[in-house]
Amino acid sequence: MENNQKNYNRRSFLKVSALSGGGMMLGVSWLAAANTKLTELGADLEAFQNGQTLNAYVQIGSDNIVKIMCHNPEFGQNVKTSLPMIVAEELDVDWKDVIVEQAPYDTKLYPRQFTGGSQSVRSTWRPLRNAGAAARDMLRSAAAQTWNVPQEEVTTKVGVLHHEKSGKSAKYGEMAAKAATLTVPKDLKLKSAAERKIVSTSRKNVDGKSIVTGKPMFGMDYQKPGMLIAMMVQPPAFGLKLKSYDASEALKMPGIKQVFTIEVFPDSMERGGFDTRTFNEFVVVVGYNTWEVMNARKKVKAEWEKAPEKKEIFGGFGGQKNERITPAGLESTSEHLVKMKEMVKQSARVLRKDGDPEAAFKNAAQVIERTYNAPFLAHNTMEPMNCFAEVTDSQAFVAGPVQAPEFVEQTLIKRLGLPADKVDIHLTRMGGGFGRRAYAHYMVEAALISRQAKAPIKLVYSREDDMTYGIYRPMYTATYRAALDANKKLLAFHVIGGGIPENPVHANRFPAGALDNYLAEGWEIPSNVTIGAFRAPRSNFNAAAEQSFMDELAEAMGKDPMDLRLELLERAKTNPVGKNNDYDPDRYAGVLKLLREKSGWDKPENKGKNLGLAAYFCHNSYAGHVIEMKIKDGQPYAESVVSAIDCGVVINPDAAKNMVEGAVIDGIGCALYGNMSFKNGKPEHNNFNTYRMIRMPEIPKRIDVHFVQNDIDPTGLGEPPFPPVFGALANAIYRATGKRQYNQPYLQEEPKTQG
């Protein structure tokens, strides 16, 4: 089965042949149910017959139903709807006649099958438009040949080809077989913004119906006859490793087949940049069902010992190798905080320097210095990590939730010692990702377990496994300093930031470029607590610290916080300092101006309200919020939020609004409550009963989302609205309580109402 699928997958982009309905899908029953059925009409996969492949994204059935493949993994960012919308627009079809299917993972057919960095739409906007336009052109060409008329005279109108002079017309489906034999054209004319009928109009989630009816679509739902369940016993603390284990009791438990250990990566193996793994050796319990395996797992008597310091080689981008040292020891949050305080006092690696900041600080009439801290955060995707694997000595098939299949494919090839064409990955819908599923160690683990168990298995992480495994948002700190002269004029700006084990500073971002004297420094403290990307990595801290500091600075300068930002951006635009400023001051200011208008920032009736402002640039987009804070039951409550975003062309406006609303709520939750702490290497939270997540009573009553209207090629949206929530919230809490927020989670500080 896997081999057939592989052969199908590896067909070249241009080679075309008739498809049998659903021929590419796995012969597994759960998938048939998960196929997309559009809610707007009745088109579904069963109705899709004799599909003709025009290119890797477009197939047209004889009944005029169009199947569009979504090549990127879906984790809630709604690419499975928005990416096909881009294709359908240029193809000129009725969206009601479109069905969408998750494409197979295949790097020969599709570029960059990666969900991360808010890049899905940005990186495929042009290729997808070209794919749609190419298919339309091939259909016009097929009609022209059939009717013996010039192609220029063949027009299209929502799925129908016309030739006005002869009065001939045909549905796409009638010309699809011929079109499929033609070569893919070049130099395609694409639609202008004014011509668009699908892009920039709101379309419902193509998987909506499957979701609300509970269809199996997630990795956790994956089933195959004969499949066993595997769970692992992991060390109870970072810095520990397996010493020995006794499985005799576990093996006596009902439904248990095997207990063994796996080694995820041999020490000598050079790993890819995303091959982060927290623990290397696990005791694996394999049985017939999850409940029995969960129970038996408790009976494994494992002994742990301290892990020594480890040097590991990672392959980086562009063939660069780097060595990472994982220190030994059982770390605690209290010690982390002490170490970070010490580091803050020392100078660090200079990341950027403009002018003479040292002299400016020396000559300053006033220096403002503030330090901000943030804890580790667990991703807490609602679907815990899991993966199905069927691996033999000669081939491997894995299916599960993964953001970066290209990375893990390379890892599997290397770790399993199999040729590339014998390793196949199937992408399931992800129950959340937020960066966590870019680190697919669980796919490697599942593959090793299946090979050893000689059976198809599904590896299941319990919530406790998931929350204590790591790949956390790093712990960060940053000290910001500003030098003012006697007239409160800003002379210099200094940021020194660090983290465990990564520094957060984006040295070339705002306010770099707006200041004659600027210094950015960074440092790191090594740790054996594993970290990784977490929704807008580093930005999610910087936008809290920097935007809080900007607010305090405006206050010290006697300026409106909106005005201060706009003045700095004006300077960065008209007379920028340095050449590497990686933001567009005009677009940044545009978001602030939209926010100013929509929040009624300058209106007299709003002057008495506790409004907090923050705006930030990341992932090629600009986002800002104004949060109105109230005190409810003695706690800060973000009652209403106005958001402004510039992400260029918005593909699916209502879904984009949903994404921003979600980012606001997620941001409030992480900023107020998010906290993963450690004691002697042991995570102090392992489930939602103590790791606090935002819940419905805590969400704002209103979130008004506004997009800057322009025709700039689309940029990121999943991440950019998230970071500035932290800053706006801190500033709004200050307005409501008189207390600045220097330490996340903010709720630890227990702000009280002022006056």
Binding site: G208, V212, P216, F218, G431, P697
Partner: protein
């Protein structure tokens, strides 16, 4: 192991399992009803919410042995064609992002509205506070519930 005959989505079904097995796993792995989701296993996230005689129950904390003749309803059995008014409201408001928690959210919402057809803001907040959504779709969940409420 013991045999239990359960009334699931209007049909009697027999399973032979460990009496302590939570209904969550009975549904997911013994009855092929994986719409009910595993999220935490400690009744703290609501992803596994089902109905027992119409009331919302976290199935991860409900041993199969404690279910007698009560009618169990899962997301798959909420309506024959997936068009329960709450399911329709979810589609109308395009609630879902990743979608993993939504079956539990819908089951909670349906139970809320059954006993309280016109819930206040506080009623909704209180009843739904047991269901976590990391994507943060709560605004739309609440709007969808309000759209089905009968004043």
């Amino acid at each position: 192991m013991a045999k239990y005959t359960l009334k699931i989505n209007g049909k009697n079904q027999t399973v032979d399992v460990d009496p302590a097995t939570p209904m969550l796993w009975v549904l997911r792995e013994h009855l092929n009803l994986p719409g009910t989701k595993y999220g935490c296993g400690v009744a703290a996230c609501g992803a596994c919410t089902i109905h027992v005689d119409g009331n919302a129950v976290r199935s991860c904390q409900l041993p199969v042995s404690s279910v007698k003749k009560q009618a169990i309803t899962t997301i798959e059995g909420l309506s024959p064609t997936g068009d329960h008014p709450v399911q329709r409201a979810w589609l109308e408001h395009d609630v879902a992002q990743c979608g993993y928690c939504q079956a539990g959210q819908i089951m909670s919402a349906v139970a809320l509205l059954k006993n309280n057809p016109n819930p206040s803001e506080e009623d909704i907040n209180g009843f739904m506070s047991g269901n976590i959504c990391r994507c943060g779709t709560y605004t739309r969940i609440k709007a969808a519930i309000k759209s089905v409420a009968k004043p």
